[in-house]
């Protein structure tokens, strides 16, 4: 697949749409599915809306598409107020979770459907549908019926249909969730390649954090209809804005501690002094949470200064990496993912080990951020 990405480095044919969303809300009775949601999406950006089910991510997408009318707020697409515009007038490409191909039409007719709706002539429709099928690598599949295709092929057809009239905005509603793991990874790269080739703005809804981190330029984390964090993938992982984001993306050790403004006191009285940058947001004195990614921990001698002492409970060997599950003296579970090669040869369950991490790997969250 790499060759294609490299072959397509010319200027993209379309400039992606710019989206400005302000104060967006959708209430169903007393339920606030989306509340005070605001975001600016740059032209050509790939944005992922990530959250558990019920977080409002799909509702936001449906409001962008025009299938849901917001209770409050505005949606501007390229500066035009689209808040109440019906979906067929928005010129948006959309890919649905279950492909939603028209089962009574051939693949070519499916792909040509948006062109037909725009009054494009038959020969021109055929030519452009064939071209779009080529872009998604389904050259020559035009005469088949959707029922004759595999899941991955159907999703490619759906993709071709969404991009055939060169929309400036592409919306995708968990498009890969119905595919198995290998196909999903392949399609992730495929969609990224298309985004790169076409230069259009993409808004992608997913509940799969790995997918969001892999594909998106920026990830918006949602919970209970509210935006939790909006950051590039790396920042999201390395410095989550709050405890929810910290726990939602990847694995995270959460160690309860007391904060006196300068140092942390852990459950059984160990004191640690984190670097000033470790404190996320404003943290008041009192109960806080110390968060450390499992892969930032390394095993050391228990007497090493500043190391956490822990009792080893389980050693889970998995080839290149090993997962160590241990308990701090106060009982808090702590996990470390270390390279198998770096481990001391004889680790026995029940022995006391030291766990240390670089100072910049420590993150301190206050109580209010725990929400």
């Amino acid at each position: 697949m790499d060759d294609v990405v490299q072959a397509q480095t010319g200027t993209p044919p379309v400039r992606g749409a710019e989206i400005a969303v302000d104060g967006l809300a959708k209430h169903y009775g007393s339920l606030k599915a989306v509340d005070e949601f605001a975001i600016n999406i740059r032209s050509g950006e790939f944005l992922a809306l990530l959250g558990p089910s019920g977080s409002g991510k799909s509702t936001i997408l449906m409001m962008l598409a025009g299938f849901e009318v917001p209770t409050a707020g505005r949606i501007l697409i390229d500066g035009v107020d689209c808040t109440r515009l019906p979906p067929q007038k928005r010129n948006i490409g959309m890919v649905f979770q279950h492909y939603s191909l028209f089962p009574h039409m051939t693949v070519a007719d499916n792909v040509a459907f948006p062109l037909k709706m725009r009054g494009v002539g038959r020969t021109e429709r055929r030519r452009r549908a064939a071209e779009a099928l080529k872009v998604v690598r389904l050259d020559g599949y035009g005469a088949r019926m959707p029922s004759q295709l595999s899941g991955g092929q159907r999703q490619r057809v759906a993709l071709a249909r969404a991009i055939v009239y060169e929309p400036r905005l592409l919306l995708m509603d968990e498009p890969l969730s119905a595919l198995d793991k290998n196909l999903r990874e392949e399609m992730q790269l495929e969609i990224k390649r298309l985004h790169h080739e076409l230069g259009i703005t993409v808004v992608f809804v997913t509940h799969d954090q790995g997918e969001a981190l892999t594909m998106a330029d920026r990830v918006a984390i949602l919970r209970g209809g509210k935006l939790q964090q909006l950051s590039p993938a790396r920042e999201l992982y390395e410095r989550p804005a709050n405890l929810f984001a910290a726990g939602f993306i990847g694995e995270m050790n959460m160690i309860p501690a007391q904060w006196d403004g300068a140092a942390l006191t852990l459950g059984t009285g160990e004191r640690m002094v984190p670097p000033t940058g470790a404190v996320v947001g404003t943290v008041g004195q009192g109960a806080v949470t110390l968060a450390i990614r499992p892969e930032r921990l390394t095993v050391c001698d228990p007497v090493t200064p500043d190391a956490l002492q822990a009792t080893l409970r389980e050693v889970v060997y998995a080839g290149a990496g090993t997962l160590l599950i241990a308990a701090l003296p106060d009982g808090t579970e702590i996990r470390a993912r270390v390279a198998s090669a770096s481990l001391p040869p004889a680790l026995t369950e029940g022995e006391t080990i030291g766990l240390s991490c670089p100072p910049e790997a420590m993150l301190v969250y206050g109580e209010e951020a725990a929400a």
Binding site: A65, G66, F67, P86, P87, Q88, N91, I92, G93, M94, F96, H98, Y99, S100, L101, F102, P103, H104, F113, P114, M117, R118, M145, P146, S147, G151, R154, R161, A162, Y165, L171, A178
Partner: protein, 270 residues
């Protein structure tokens, strides 16, 4: 595993008895149409097609047939269109009156036709619709509606509602989305619902009895008149023709429904 227990034998006997009593009259009446006698007799005497020729050459019979056909065709069209719109509204609409509306639509199955016929007769007399084509079409559509609603809703429930959303995201209006996506998929069932309506209307006797005027009579009404006055083998001849029409219509409806099943089923596998 053939288990011929007494209970099973009893059940099979019962089923065949029912079939026998349903089919026997038809089996008896049909051969009478070919009898050379000018009264009804079984077994038939000789063989002639003259009763069929009589039927086709008699202007009163032909007039009634054309009148019935006209009503049946219009009923089929009205029923399939209204049933499709109503079913769509019931299944895709967000309204709360859906249950009530559905009850009203299928009520004619529960209400005895004679009660419906009397009510329609009194009502149509007053507003001048009695013995008009329009009146017949309205009355027959009411009777046929439940069957068409059932057939269409069976098809519509198999069509993914997001397909229309997908069509709209492609630039289609709600109506275009329905016309180009949903309608082609449910069309076989819409047509078979229309065929049912056609059959129901074409040999409907009860309402025809009440609504008939002096001149314009439907075929079943004419047959009643003829049975009272003459009772020649022209009646079994017409019965042969009506049975043939019904059988062809039912076969056509079954083929249409099978086409529908083939069309929508494979997509669900994904």
């Amino acid at each position: 595993m053939q288990n011929l227990s007494p209970r099973r034998l009893l059940l099979m006997g019962y089923v065949y008895a029912v079939l026998f009593f349903v089919l026997a009259p038809i089996v008896i009446i049909l051969p009478m149409a070919f009898s050379e006698t000018d009264y009804l007799t079984f077994p038939p005497v000789g063989f002639t097609l003259s009763w069929f020729t009589d039927f086709f050459s008699n202007s009163r019979w032909m007039g009634a047939t054309v009148f019935s056909l006209k009503i049946a065709v219009l009923t089929a069209i009205t029923t399939s269109v209204v049933a499709t719109m109503a079913t769509y509204a019931l299944m895709r609409g967000a309204g709360r009156i859906g249950a009530l509306f559905q009850g009203l639509l299928i009520a004619p199955i529960v209400v005895p036709h004679i009660a419906l016929a009397v009510a329609l007769y009194l009502f149509f007399q007053r507003i001048g619709l009695s013995s008009t084509v329009f009146g017949y079409v309205l009355a027959h559509s009411v009777i046929a509606m439940p069957f068409a609603v059932f057939t269409v809703s069976a098809a519509l429930s198999a069509v993914d509602a997001t397909l229309e959303d997908a069509a709209m995201s492609c630039g289609a209006s709600r109506f275009t989305a329905f016309r180009l996506v949903t309608l082609p998929m449910i069309l076989p069932n819409v047509l078979s619902g229309g065929l049912f309506a056609f059959i129901l209307s074409f040999d409907e006797p009860v309402i025809a009895f009440f609504l008939a005027g002096i001149r314009d009579k439907t075929l079943p009404r004419m047959m009643f008149d003829d049975i009272e006055q003459n009772l020649t083998p022209i009646i079994p001849a017409i019965a042969v023709l009506l049975t043939a029409v019904s059988i062809f219509a039912l076969i056509a409806a079954a083929l249409l429904r099978r086409a529908a099943a083939n069309r929508t089923a494979p997509e669900e596998a994904g």
